[in-house]
Symmetry: C2
Subunit: 405 residues, 2 copies
């Protein structure tokens, strides 16, 4: 096994991979109680550029969090002993993670975002190397449009990008981008492998993730999640949204516990609300599939109505917040419809935009939300999953960051 | 049968009667779909002063609407032919109403509030006269704290006061106020008779009323109404509220139709919301009965929570209005909880006040609501039903109006 023994021996090769984030469109919290949730891929993406090196070094650069690390392949090779063949299902072993934490010097420590990202990278690098027999000497730079810790699947997008790039580099999957192409995707089988490895990365980062976020990063589009089962939607339209981060910090655990308390306190009042949320997810799924065949004002109106109803329900189950009410009110003054997404109690909200919502309306809403101290992104949901790109086809600011300029 | 042949021949007698309005605490709209509604007596009252006359005249003065009418008993007597004995259940006959409209000169006309109030008075006067054999010569002045047409049961309070006074004058019921008493109530059997006659008055005014408003005006307290059945709550506390009239006009018919449309469009989403509203009414009923044994901070908190939840539900079923959102927001800034009451789409809202809510908080809320263009009353719910009063025991401004000063 040699360092730099890369697929096809393309020492000068560059791999560019991106993966989307995710938002919950409907069903947050209800999903904890056995109802369906509808997750959609968010076109705020994580980008990875990987370059082959010929000096036996492995570099990891994460400009979002100021991480710059470098190892020699010969320094990493002894760790391989801890990474026997993976059957494709068992979670990362605690001994493996301990060993990696020890290696990066965080054993027993609290594990900040920098350490967690490093351990997840090394886990994927070494596991995939152990399987493929290749320890690639590469330069990896990952940058994300996604804020971290906001429930938008940024860690999964990171894991998906790493899995896509490392599996490609080791020849476990092909690199789909052909000469002259600006964007290409992997086959369904390859995506399945990428997803399974990305899930391992998520397990390293989160312990016991649902698998929704890595599935969204991999497959894109939308999926239904219920009782541990992930079902991708067959056809999904791309819809414009405004994503607003209220930047109000919150504890997902406390919010989930609060909903449970309300259910125990007022079962007769709260159970029907969860049933109604479940019906909203179902209705929305049907509308999304119908919209994939062509949008209409009527479909847009229904989506808006569902967003409004669910926002009321989320307030009823106790996960609203004045900042989220503010997003709803401000956007309503521009004729737009918003709901919280994810845990609530602050965090993020999504605002639906119609295909024909004029830029002036969006700009005015963004301006007013900015005045409330919120950060907004105009983006899409139902986005493409993990993709290979030609570097020049990306937006100039992304190219600049990936080039380390 | 003689004019002025009054009970006990007390020609100098004065009868003073009051009856409360009502608000729906929970269950408005849901009640249309077979769920329970919880109505509570509102301590904005209608006051009636009746004086015996010795000149064979009947005077009706309604200072709220500028009505001043006078008839001779001899002029009314011929109408009695149209009022045979009433069995106690059948509604006013169309011929009777036609005859009365013709008599007051509105036959075939649109029937403004003045005409409707006049016809209802004559209907009750003549029906009760026909039963008792007495055509009293009296002076009747009715004045109300209740705004009309706001869904607060003002017409029922009018009918209840008329029924109480006329039945007393004719000896069908006693007049309960003893020497030196300031307030007295009729017996349960007498109240039942007053209620049945008040329902007849409501039928004259509204055609096909539910009977809730006259029951509230008669019995006071609170009642549950479901599928046409009225069940008074056994024990009800008196609770402080703020009643706010947004003065936004609305069509109850259109609002009811809108809810039905939503139910047909999204049955899976909307049926559970009605089920949840039903559970709110049940929960609230239990809390009210428990509070009758003693209030507590805990009970107050639950009542507030139920109000907040139901307000969200009412928005979900489409009967909210920006003016009502405004009431909720303004009162929330003072730590108070509000919901719409009745048809919604504007109209009135109630705000719960705790026993220990300081006057400064109430004043500040009233001031801020006034700045929105709304009219507020600080009053109580769970109020006393129809009552007999000594004139001097009433508030000075009411006495002044009842004295015609």
């Amino acid at each position: 096994m040699e360092a730099g023994n890369l697929q096809g021996g393309m020492l000068s090769k560059t791999w560019v991979v991106s993966a989307p984030g995710k938002v919950i469109l409907h069903g947050e919290h209800a999903v904890v109680h056995g109802k369906a949730a509808l997750a959609v891929a968010l076109n705020l993406r994580t980008f990875l550029r990987m370059n082959a090196r010929d000096d036996g070094k492995v570099l990891l650069q994460l400009p979002n969090i100021g991480t710059e690390l470098s190892w020699d392949v010969v320094q990493l090779r002894p760790l391989l002993a801890a990474f026997p063949d993976w059957t494709g299902s068992e979670p990362p072993a605690p001994e493996q993670l301990e060993k990696l934490k020890e290696f990066v010097g965080t054993a027993g420590g609290p594990g900040g975002i920098h350490d967690v990202a490093t351990v997840a990278f090394l886990y994927l690098y070494l596991s995939i190397a152990a399987q493929s027999g290749v320890l690639p000497s590469v330069d990896i730079r990952v940058w994300s449009e996604l804020p971290t810790g906001a429930g938008l699947g940024s860690s999964a997008a990171y894991s998906v990008c790493l899995a896509g790039a490392l599996l490609s580099a080791c020849g476990a999957v092909g690199y789909p981008l052909g000469e002259g192409q600006s964007l290409a995707r992997w086959s369904a089988e390859e995506l399945d492998l990428i997803n399974r490895w990305a899930f391992q990365g998520e397990r390293v980062i989160h312990g016991n993730p649902s698998g929704v976020d890595n599935a969204m990063g991999t497959w894109g589009g939308a999926l239904r999640y219920q009782s541990g089962k992930i079902t991708p939607l067959k056809r999904v339209p791309t819809l414009r949204i405004l994503l607003t981060n209220t930047k109000i910090p919150r504890s997902t655990k406390a919010l989930v516990a609060g909903v449970k308390d309300k259910l125990l306190k007022f079962p007769g009042i709260m159970e029907p609300v969860l049933a109604s949320i479940d019906a909203i997810s179902q209705e929305c799924e049907g509308i999304l599939e119908a919209m994939a065949d062509g949008s209409s004002q009527e479909y847009c109106s229904v989506l808006e109505e569902l967003v409004d109803i669910n926002q009321h329900h989320l307030n009823v189950i106790g996960v609203g917040h004045p900042s989220l009410d503010c997003v709803c009110q401000v956007t309503a003054t521009h004729g737009l419809h918003s709901k919280l997404t994810g845990a609530g109690g602050g965090g993020c909200a999504i605002t639906l935009l119609r295909p024909d919502t004029p830029p002036s309306v969006v700009d005015a809403a963004v301006r007013d939300l900015g005045r409330c101290g919120f950060t907004c992104w105009e983006t899409d949901i139902g986005a493409l999953g993990v993709s290979a790109h030609s570097l020049p086809s990306l937006k100039a600011d992304v190219v600049k960051i990936l080039n380390g300029v």
